[in-house]
């Protein structure tokens, strides 16, 4: 009989229930979309912030020590290098997946038409492969990502896939102005160990010291100084978590942390733990955070996440109130029917159970539909803003389900209680 009554409501009063289901679906879709966007916004903004360039630099550790140990004349220091073969070790660390870009660098002072200029050798758009213990690590990376702010004034980015890419260079705009260099020109660079004739593929504007530099491939720069297979620096761009108390504590000295704290720190993508892991992987290297980038990233991420959280909370409150509102009005509408049930002898508990079952069944359908709608909305937001899909979080689905259950109950129970207090005779007579 109970099921017949419930079914009867669904068949006969489908319009009213549809309205409740629709509101629940709308509310659920807002909640789903906002929660998923909120939970993913950190990663997305972090990727956007990568346009600021690398946040970690890796340099040879012994540089400073060597200078102290061996008193070098006139302050001219003996250069220290990292081994190019070790580069791939970067991709074997715990947080390797968070390393979005990296580029090795070597630099040299060379003569260009008799004037001393700085040449930097690096990767432009490089396909990197590294094999270790049967696993192949690959990454497509280079300056094209790490210098996204470069404005190409003339010519184009260097094409590193071309077979003769070694014969090209890019020149900073101020240096190009001074020496009247334009794209397509040939320049002769005289280094300490060799001479290279390079074709200028493009002139860039960077707005800082780099406007005075020449950038070329790693091997061309290494040949100029006779340092084949050696690097002076690695720029690393990694997605990191904002710093907190633990990170600050660890930054002082990781060995001061307790066992649990150490594990937590090591397994969190703090800039300090990534630096630490890089040093573990390449023992002769010293990895330091570029404070300008690392600090600012943390701040902006924190603010964005907080902003999105508050907007999400507002939307959730709005959705929740909207749903419970309509459920209340939906239940109150049925005063005559419910009091009639009471008049023919139904107990309060039975009536409550009947109404709740109907409302809950409707809410479940509404939530399912709403979740799908929310998924679509989240993807629309992701595609329009970040050109990438928003990852759907299992936690969001759980929160939405609990939220809807809660607000539906919250919306129906007071209404049911109110109706149960009414006297059947009065209601059925027609007076409110």
């Amino acid at each position: 009989m109970f099921f017949r009554m419930v079914r009867g409501t669904f068949v006969r009063q489908w319009k009213k229930l549809l309205m409740i289901a629709l509101t629940v679906a709308l509310g659920a879709s807002i909640a789903t979309a906002m929660l998923n966007v909120m939970l993913d916004v950190g990663d997305k903004i972090n990727e956007e912030l990568k346009t600021y360039g690398s946040n970690i630099t890796v340099i040879p550790q012994s540089e400073a020590v060597m200078n102290k140990l061996y008193d070098v004349e006139n302050g001219e220091t003996q250069d220290e290098f990292l081994n190019e073969d070790k580069l791939g070790e970067l991709l074997t660390i715990f947080w390797a997946n968070n390393i979005t870009d990296f580029a090795p660098e070597t630099d040299a002072q060379v003569l260009l038409d008799g004037n001393e200029v700085k040449v930097v050798g690096s990767w432009f758009a490089h396909h990197f492969e590294y094999e270790k213990k049967g696993t192949t690590y690959t990454r497509d990376t280079g300056l094209i990502n790490l210098r996204s702010w470069w404005d190409i004034k003339d010519g184009q980015w260097m094409d590193e896939s071309a077979s003769d890419s070694d014969r090209y260079a890019m020149v900073g705009c101020q240096l190009a102005d001074k020496n009247n260099i334009s794209a397509g020109d040939s320049i002769t660079l005289k280094g300490s160990r060799g001479e290279e004739v390079l074709t200028v593929s493009g002139i860039y504007e960077s707005g800082d010291d780099e406007d005075e530099y020449i950038y070329t491939t790693l091997s061309a720069a290494q040949r100029l100084t006779g340092t084949q297979g050696l690097l002076k620096k690695i720029e690393v761009s990694a997605i990191t978590s904002p710093e907190d108390e633990l990170a600050v504590k660890a930054a002082r000295d990781p060995s001061l942390l307790s066992g649990d704290e150490y594990d937590l720190w090591y397994c969190t993508a703090y800039v300090s733990s990534i630096c630490f892991q890089i040093q573990e992987a390449i023992p002769e290297a010293s990895a330091t955070a570029v404070r300008q980038i690392a600090d600012s990233e943390g701040k902006i991420l924190e603010k964005t996440e907080l902003l999105m959280t508050l907007i999400t909370v507002l939307s959730l409150i709005g959705a929740a109130l909207g749903i419970s509102n309509l459920v209340t009005s939906g239940v109150m509408e049925r005063s005559i029917e419910l009091t009639l049930l009471k008049a023919v002898g139904a107990k309060n508990g039975q009536v409550t159970f009947l109404v709740l079952t109907e409302v809950m069944a409707t809410a479940v359908v509404g939530t399912a539909v709403g979740y799908l709608m929310g998924y679509v909305f989240a993807q629309i937001i992701g595609e329009t803003v970040f050109n990438s899909a928003i990852e759907m979080n299992g936690m969001a689905a759980f929160i939405v389900a609990v939220l809807i259950l809660f607000v539906t109950l919250l919306g129906s129970i007071p209404a049911i209680r109110l109706l149960l207090r009414l006297k059947p005779s009065e209601v059925l007579h027609g007076g409110h």
């Binding site: 309205m19 509101t23 709308l26 509310g27 807002i30 906002m34 966007v37 916004v41 903004i45 956007e48 346009t51 600021y52 360039g53 970690i56 400073a64 200078n67 102290k68 302050g75 996204s148 702010w149 470069w150 404005d151 504007e205 707005g207 800082d208 010291d209 330091t288 955070a289 570029v290 404070r291 300008q292 980038i293 690392a294 600090d295 600012s296 701040k299 902006i300 603010k303 907080l306 902003l307 999105m308 508050l310 907007i311 507002l314 939307s315 709005g318 959705a319 109130l321 909207g322 509102n325 309509l326 009005s329 109150m332 509408e333 909305f377 629309i380 937001i381 329009t384 803003v385 970040f386």
Partner: protein, 401 residues
Amino acid sequence: MNKKTLMFFRMVAASFIRRRSRMLIALFAVIIGATILSGLVMIYYDVPRQMSTQFRSYGANLILTPSEEESISSEELEKSISLIPENELEGYTPYRYENSKIHNMPVTFAGIDFESVTKTSPYWHISGEMPQNDGEALVGAKVAEKLGLKTGESVSAENSFEITPDTDISLIPEYEIFEDPETGEKHCDHSLDISITGILETGGSEEEYIYVTYKDVEYLSLTKRGYDIVEVSAAAMQDTLKSYTKRISDDVEGVSARLVKRVTASESTVLDKLQSLVFIVTAVVLVLTMICVATTMTAVITERRKEIGLRKSLGAYNSDIIVEFMCEGLFLGGAGGILGSVLGYVFAQLVSMNVFSTSITFRPLLIPITIAASVLVTGLACLIPIRSAVDVDPALVLKGE
């Protein structure tokens, strides 16, 4: 006031008083919608301004360099800075570099203002203290490592150079000056004692300098001159900054202004993304909320089919019913809009205080827009069910079918 109008108002008023709970539900829905509308839109408009201030933690986004002469004088600096609106200017720090030696190793000293540098380089990590007075120095981590300098130590920087007409010999005692007997050139040897109050860590090239006050570099070099470079941090977007650089380069002789591309280009990319994120989120939430308001209104009106039927059977015209119901709807929309815009402002202010610790810009125009939008949405939401309700046959409705 004739009887008909009086009756009309009595009916509207009565429907609010007698159907209090239903009306409250409808009003509540409108308030939620209006709150979300005014709150989110207010945040949307304020986000670029607020975020732009946050992005200043990346430091200077504009630099001034001398264009022809060797340095930028105080007058030129003042004139350049005055071209940037005061409310956008976060701070500026002039730098003056001088070479010297410590323990016979060459080091570069930079004269700065320690107070303003916290504005233009907020990312500086200092272990120890920021110097306050003359004679105190902040040492870059790389220099400190190279020379083995530590916080709390005192070192002296030695300078020996030829005295030229530019040299300000009034700064030093006469006994430090000596004449080369062969060439007749005047030389001087003098040193500056500094105590190290802190070590600077940035992970960048800033670690290669020793920072002291302007007075100390002046003493070190014995020359009075202007600044080599000025770092400016302004909370403005790339295009606005570009116009400032042009104005400064054109109007102030001897100064050329450049954008720090790394900061400005990246900032506009990220800010654009952020703003479009808030925009599309606002749009999606608004549309969904409006539909929610509309469904609630529809439910409230549909419920009253019996009343409509009764009125019609008593001889009311369709148009009378439509007007009365619309008036109720519009009243709800207006009241909800007013309350909602107040609550929305409170919400936006709450968000702004919590996230950015500054108050939100109040936009008076948003109040009429919110009210108009609520009235419009409620009006539209009422119209559809009323139209279908007035079409019914009173006999059928009253019979309960």
